[in-house]
């Protein structure tokens, strides 16, 4: 009777141990599978991260270059705007001078034509009429 009980106990214990061993094997396999999956995902993500870092590096360089170029363009724009302002002022000043010169020249030419036909009095009057323009033009020319 004791032997039978011992045998049953033995078989039961052995069965439990075997079942647990099988269970541990299954757990080990699942963990190993999970580990492989995680490693693959990590590797893929690492590759993506490397690519991102590479792209980011390029972008940083390009943004730096673009920033420099923009600063240069902005500086050039300011210079051009400044030169434009100066030139426009100069043109306006020249326009005034040209107007005086043309008025003066018109009178002088008229006077010369009068002289050519012997009318000195008329020539004198025509010159006097533009004398202020001539004086202004010659003074500022």
């Amino acid at each position: 009777m004791a032997a039978v009980l011992a045998g049953v106990l033995f078989v039961a214990t052995l069965s439990l141990l075997i079942a647990d061993i099988v269970h541990q094997h299954q757990g080990f396999d699942r963990a190993q599978s999970e580990l492989h999956t995680t490693d693959r995902r990590t590797a893929a993500l690492s590759a993506r991260l490397d690519q991102l870092h590479h792209d980011l590096g390029l972008l940083v360089t390009e943004v730096g270059n673009d920033t420099t170029a923009l600063e240069q363009d902005t500086s050039q724009l300011r210079g051009a705007q400044w030169a434009l302002g100066l030139t426009q002022a100069s043109v306006a000043q020249q326009g005034t001078l040209i107007s005086s010169l043309q008025t003066c020249l018109g009178g002088v030419e008229a006077a010369l034509n009068s002289l050519a036909v012997g009318n000195q009095d008329q020539a004198g009057a025509e010159l006097n009429a533009v004398s202020s323009s001539c004086t202004e033009a010659l003074a500022h020319g």
Partner: protein, 449 residues
């Protein structure tokens, strides 16, 4: 015997028990080992997942950074495009303004140079130094030409210089024209056809029968080793124009007229004017001129003696052209005959000389004595941009053998104004059936020096 069996049974029992214990021990060992391996693997999984999470976080951070940088770059790109567009606009405005300023600067400088010369001339005129006044004006002819706006049309001398005649001698071009403040017959010279300088008065004195200040339309040619000047002049006490002749040993004169009477008058036809000499390929010399006025004008030709100072014995005027085209307005005048490539082209002016309708036409002639027929029903040069009322054409050949046409015209806006028909010079193409007036020299009107 029974004891032996019992002992053997115990031994078997002990063996079974030992064996069972060994089996259980082995199973337990395997179980414990399996537990350890599983825990170790699970710990590795946890670590791997943690690493994965960290990488995922880094990827997230990098992705955000990339998106930020991309947005920044896009923003910079927009800013750059905007700035470049602005820069382009401002640069364009600046360029246009600088061109405007430059042109204005040229105008100012040109005006000042022209004005300076005119003022000097006025100062000279105050002291009745007309020759000096003419030189002062001539010195600024280029700038004044630019101001009058006719340079693109061939304006080279922006002062009164009507009915021109141009010859070349020793690489210098001499131009002669109707009387002005410079004298009875004006002379100017040039080495480039663009910049002209006053030489003076070609005909300082007139013959006793001629009326002073009524001398027009000269024509000069080298005939028999002398320079022969034909010109129109009113005899004293007459209002009918006649033609006379003077000679000189050099192109710049002075020409001397020793005649006791005009060479040609045609009083019955309303007078003779606009003489122009022509030397044929065989050396024969001819004179073409115009008789009459509006409605009665005719163009004639007659052979001259070898000296050029008289008509050939036994000859008489031959009518070679009458007005027959509507544009001519019943007037043809200012003839100039040219031979090129074996054919004769007669250039003439038509319509009212004192209007913008005045123009230059061409006829084809069988020979120096005609007959001549219009090369085209239309004139070859009319009023246009930079010139008005062109006429008084004179054809000449430059040092390279190319043909040119000199003529007078008003600058637009000055039509009919006294003493203001200026000298123009343009290229001339005689290769086709109708002469074609070309463009001016590129530097026409540019300031000298």
């Amino acid at each position: 015997m029974g004891e032996g069996r019992a002992r053997q049974g115990r031994r078997r029992l002990i063996a079974v028990v030992v064996l069972g214990a060994l089996v259980l021990t082995a199973a337990a060992w395997l179980d414990v080992r399996g537990h350890g391996a599983t825990r170790s693997e699970q710990a590795a999984v946890v670590r791997a997942e943690a690493r994965l999470a960290a990488v995922q976080k880094e990827v997230g951070t990098a992705t955000v950074a990339k998106a930020t940088m991309t947005a920044r770059r896009a923003q910079l790109g927009v800013s750059m495009v905007t700035t470049q567009i602005k820069l382009g606009g401002v640069s364009s405005d600046l360029g246009n303004t600088q061109v405007h300023a430059y042109l204005q600067g040229v105008n100012i400088k040109t005006l000042q140079i022209c004005l300076g010369g005119v003022q000097n001339a006025l100062d000279a005129l105050k002291f009745t130094a007309t020759a000096q006044a003419a030189k002062d004006i001539t010195a600024v002819s280029g700038p004044c030409s630019q101001l009058t706006g006719g340079t693109a049309a061939g304006l080279v001398y922006p002062f009164d210089f009507p009915d021109p005649s141009v010859i070349e001698a020793g690489g210098t071009y001499y131009a002669y024209a109707t009387n002005s403040v410079a004298g009875n017959i004006q002379i100017i010279d040039s080495t480039d056809l663009t910049h002209w300088t006053v030489v003076g008065n070609a005909l300082p004195s007139l013959p006793p029968w001629a009326t002073p200040n009524l001398t027009w339309a000269p024509s000069v040619a080298l005939i028999g080793g002398r320079y022969v000047l034909y010109y129109a002049v009113d005899p004293t006490g007459s209002t009918t124009e006649c033609i006379s002749v003077a000679t000189a040993t050099q192109p710049q004169g002075p020409f001397t007229d020793t005649s006791g009477a005009p060479l040609e008058c045609q009083n019955g036809l309303g007078g003779s004017i606009d003489p122009s000499s022509f030397i044929d390929a065989n050396g024969s010399v001819f004179l073409e001129w115009k008789s009459g006025g509006p409605g009665t004008s005719r163009i004639w030709s007659e052979q001259l003696a070898p000296s050029g100072t008289s008509f050939a014995p036994g000859t008489s005027p031959t009518l070679i052209l009458t007005p027959d085209q509507s544009w001519e307005g019943a007037t043809v005048e200012a003839p100039d005959l040219v031979e090129a490539g074996g054919h004769y082209d007669l250039f003439f002016s038509g319509n009212d000389w004192n209007s913008a309708n005045y123009a230059i036409g061409a006829a084809t002639c069988a020979g120096p004595l005609g007959p001549c027929t219009d090369a085209s029903p239309n004139p070859i040069l009319t009023s246009g941009r930079g010139l008005a009322g062109p006429g008084g054409a004179a054809v000449f050949v430059d040092t390279s053998g190319s043909f040119w046409i000199a003529f007078h015209a008003w600058v637009p806006g000055a039509v009919g104004f006294p003493n203001s028909r200026s000298l123009y010079v343009r290229r001339l193409d005689l290769s086709g059936p109708v002469p074609a007036v070309g463009g001016p020299l590129p530097s026409a009107g540019a300031p000298a020096g």
